[in-house]
């Protein structure tokens, strides 16, 4: 069971879970704040739309194409 941190809160998920799924399991499902201030959540689910971009351990990654790993720090807010 990977244990990660989502916006500072601990979260435990099943092995093989994507970060996109973890956003909904541990919070309201949203991934980022748009340039005009709207909260956005994963849209295409397959690495095209970039709506699910989050910061993982300091790097910008796509939540839908990243699997949860132990000790990961995921941030959805700037």
């Amino acid at each position: 069971m990977p244990d990660l941190h989502l916006d500072g809160r601990p979260l435990s998920v099943a092995p093989g879970t994507t970060v996109a799924a973890a956003l909904a399991l541990g919070s309201d499902g949203s991934a980022r704040t748009s340039v005009s201030g709207e909260r956005r959540a994963p849209l295409c689910g397959m690495g095209i739309c970039q709506e699910c971009r989050v910061t993982i351990d300091g790097l910008r990654r796509l939540a839908c194409q990243t699997l949860c790993r132990d000790g990961m720090h995921v941030e959805t807010r700037p």
Partner: protein, 420 residues
């Protein structure tokens, strides 16, 4: 840092996996890239809530156990790095791979169109929701509306239902006649697609289109229209997609000719650019069986074995006919071009409203004036939408093809030619 492949393959769906095995069986050293964490593409997407068919598992294992195939997951193409080389990047590093032959198996994505409320959290693509559920998105107990067009709506609804969701409506925009013609082909469809749902499900409506997603901070309901009647339904999620479009951006950037919005190939799966081949959905829609045989042909040709490739031509012809029969095109109702309100965001990356984009006469002009298509997705969503909405022709993407780390781009310094 750099690497060399006799045959470099982009995309590890059915076509790419099949191409890799074929080329490796001819003695080529193969490198296979995919930007997803797991191989299989969209149709064989694996995950914590997914079940992939035995055929997919066998092919995947054969690729991973082959000594001359190197597979890199979570790796995307960033730019061209000289005449026969690509700059690629994974989560940790960027590097250049040179190749003798390149096989593009970049698949397809969904056409997503703007309508009021489509940026609300809770709204996804139809195939998008299916992919997210397979990756572990919890939907048990949720009320879900599936809308848009095409057989993917049924597949998506099936996956949602299988994972405990309550599918309250499936809204297909195509008219009953088109759907009925499609239904006549159903006995020839893979059974599993239709196990959970069918066109005869009481919640299925033809000739019904999305008007708006409702809610303030998150989706709370949808408004649908059928003829003159409008229906509002409360729901937790809306999965909405308008059919498939081929992923041609990389091919386009490499100078390959397109036809019918797909990568153009000849009988050898060769593109218009010497040494570059393409197979599977990026060359037109045909399903996984056609992708497998096309991939196999492309892999053999890329490895120099035309004889083996030619032996597969009859098989390809057979699956092509099957694909043609199934490819009942659900023509999109022109009313879908007018779903967006003036203030509906068309470009979700730069938050550009529909009215600002519609004021221009070409994609290039709109881009320069409004920044639409200049954000993180590089116009993959709004460019495809404006192609449908305004008949604008998208131009080849410029490198880097997506957001890229600076230290990856610095790898271009060391490659033989910058390509810029």
């Amino acid at each position: 840092m750099s690497a060399h492949a006799d045959v470099l393959i982009i995309g590890a769906g059915p076509a790419g996996l099949s191409a890799a095995l074929a080329a490796a069986s001819d003695g080529a050293h193969v490198v296979l890239l995919d930007d997803n964490p797991l191989p299989g593409g969209q149709i064989w997407r694996d995950g914590v809530q997914a079940k992939v068919p035995a055929q997919a598992r066998q092919l995947r294992d054969a690729v991973d156990n082959h000594a001359s195939i190197q597979r890199h997951a979570g790796t995307r193409v960033v730019a061209r790095a000289g005449a026969s080389a690509l700059l690629v990047e994974d989560a940790e590093r960027g590097w250049v791979i040179s190749y003798r032959a390149l096989v593009l198996c970049t698949g397809a994505r969904e056409l997503l169109l703007p309508f009021p409320g489509w940026t609300l959290p809770g709204v996804t693509g139809a195939g998008g929701l299916q992919a997210l559920i397979k990756g572990g998105l919890p939907v048990a107990g949720e009320r879900i509306v599936v809308a848009g067009s095409g057989p993917l709506l049924l597949a998506s609804a099936g996956t949602a239902k299988h994972n405990g969701a309550q599918v309250v409506r499936i809204a297909e925009q195509a008219a009953l006649g088109a759907v009925a013609a499609f239904a006549l082909q159903l006995p020839r469809w893979p059974h599993k697609l239709l196990q959970s749902f069918s066109l005869f499900d009481p919640r299925y409506r033809s000739g019904t289109r999305i008007i708006a997603a409702l809610g303030t901070d998150r989706l709370e309901g949808v408004r649908l229209q059928r003829g003159n009647s409008v229906e509002e339904l409360e729901c937790d999620r809306l999965a909405c997609g308008f059919g498939l479009i081929a992923n041609v951006q990389l091919a386009q950037a490499l100078g390959c000719a397109l036809g019918n919005n797909a990568v153009q190939v000849d009988a050898w799966q060769a593109t218009s650019v010497s040494g570059i081949y393409a197979a599977g959905e990026c060359t037109g829609f045909g399903g996984s069986e056609l992708a497998l045989v096309e991939g196999c042909i492309a892999g053999h040709v890329a490895a120099g074995n035309r004889q083996a490739a030619q032996r597969l031509w009859p098989g390809r012809r057979r699956w092509q006919r099957f694909a043609d029969a199934l490819n009942m095109h659900f023509v999109l109702d022109p009313a879908l071009k007018h779903l967006a309100e003036p203030d509906t965001l068309l470009c979700r990356c730069e938050d550009v409203p529909y009215a600002a984009v519609a004021a221009h006469t070409s994609w290039r002009e709109a881009k320069l004036a409004t920044r639409c298509g200049m954000g993180a997705c590089q116009g993959r969503i709004c460019g495809a939408a404006t192609q449908y909405l305004f008949d604008w022709q998208p131009v080849a993407p410029r490198p880097p093809f997506g957001p890229t780390r600076i230290d990856t781009l610095m790898q271009l310094e060391g490659s033989t030619q910058s390509g810029h």
